[in-house]
Symmetry: C2
């Protein structure tokens, strides 16, 4: 049973046929099924995600690392507490977050949280913008068992022929270029965009433009931290986990779980 658990947990979202385990373990199919039943119950009871069995010839079993909303809220509150540390404040009103969001265990938890929020969007690929969002996006891609694709600023000869679009960076109000290799995303792909920070939404707006060139569909946008200002964002629909309001007169960092977190935890 632990061998099956190892395979399922190490490859979230991947479908394993029962035959794979029958062969690997030399056990009867009925035994395998029974053990998977026990595993499902144990994971349910301890809120460790779902073990899902799909019937039929193309069926099998897979592990979905979805979190309960209450658990996501606990994670977000814990991270907010750590981000409130005044020593994280940098010149210019920026907040130092790189260490936390690059800690693999934390990034993995956030990736699974995004996978939970976007459970129904069934992405074929997770897209991000270099650099700081990559760990979050990779871990989200891992939770969905889909590739990660990283948009870059400027052109890169080692990536081959590429498509560029211009976008207005929300914070600097400057026009910049974002580039993606032609072969990185296939036509018709369902794309989930994950980033670490959203202010004006200019980057996300650029992602819509870029995906139009690829004839791909943006099925969701998830960001770790957003700012309340500017109130008018350049995109309508996104999910944020944390809201960073800035610093008050006492020098305290104002950072809280976003409305999506507070509301979803209350209703579930």
């Amino acid at each position: 049973m632990v061998v099956m658990a190892h395979h399922l947990i190490n490859a979230p979202h991947r479908l394993f046929s029962l035959g794979t385990f029958v062969e690997l373990l030399g056990a009867a199919k009925s035994t395998i099924s029974e053990d998977l039943g026990f595993m499902r119950q144990a994971f349910d009871r301890f809120s460790l995600g779902k073990v899902e069995t799909l019937a039929g010839a193309a069926g099998g079993v897979r592990y979905l690392p979805y979190h309960q909303r209450e658990r996501i809220r606990t994670l977000v509150e814990d991270v907010c507490r750590r981000l409130r540390d005044p020593s994280r404040l940098l010149p210019g009103g920026f907040l130092y977050t790189a260490d936390l969001i690059s800690t693999p265990y934390v990034a993995a938890q956030f990736g699974e949280a995004f996978a939970t929020f976007f459970e129904d969007s069934r992405p074929d690929v997770v897209l991000t913008m270099e650099v700081k969002g990559i760990p979050l996006a990779l871990m989200t891609a891992r939770a969905f068992d889909v590739p990660l694709v990283t948009i870059r600023r400027g052109a890169h000869p080692t990536d081959g022929p590429a498509v560029s679009v211009n976008y207005v960076s929300g914070s600097s109000r400057m026009v910049q270029a974002m580039t993606l290799p032609l072969r990185a995303i296939r036509q018709g792909a369902r794309v989930l965009f994950i980033d670490d920070f959203l202010r004006g939404g200019g980057t996300a707006r650029g992602v819509y433009d870029l995906m139009r060139e690829f004839r791909a569909e943006v099925v969701g946008i998830g960001v770790l931290i957003e700012t309340p200002l500017p109130r008018e964002k350049m995109i309508d629909r996104y999910v944020s986990l944390i809201q960073f309001q800035g610093v008050n007169e006492q020098g305290e960092v104002l950072i809280t779980p976003s409305r999506a977190i507070l509301e979803s935890a209350a209703t579930r």
Copy 2:
């Protein structure tokens, strides 16, 4: 038992006290110990990594996702086969690798392979250079349960005060700057540098210079792909998994497992 497996596998290298599981599962310590023994045997038998029990007051149990050398060789050979696809050749003699090394499952396997090679180096942090090596480095950091730190080109106001050093990019022979926030690495830290590509070793050389400024120690350098030329690298010791020799007159991509892979698989 599957609940313990879930905790251990999802946080590789992290030490859990037996008391944690006693409390979580409401089982006797003897039962927990016995179950961990079964798990260790099962993981051994199916080569799924090690379950290690440490005795004493500061003791507990942890999961080390080390791979057998034979399994690493199989992984590397499979990836070489996929990289040999002529459609991956780009203008300028470059090889398109971004899709493969950004696939979470592949990156995780390589991360565990690096963790196996650098098992004895006990890093406190995994370091990489933006951008393409980040998935490999993050997954290596995950296997060691340590933070990932990413060196950037140029300065970034959102990261605060930073240290820069110049380095000679091996491919372009141009002098560039690499930057790391002052607070990113503490004095005396043991640093493992992981990157996707090594040609002349100029980047790795720069990493040594940068770490000297931080009074940190480079305990290992691992790269996914190296080229045989230039023969004289700017660093002495590193581990590469794949060697990319270029393209022959028939237009075939010449790419093979590195000597480290071939030798280690033969001797173990």
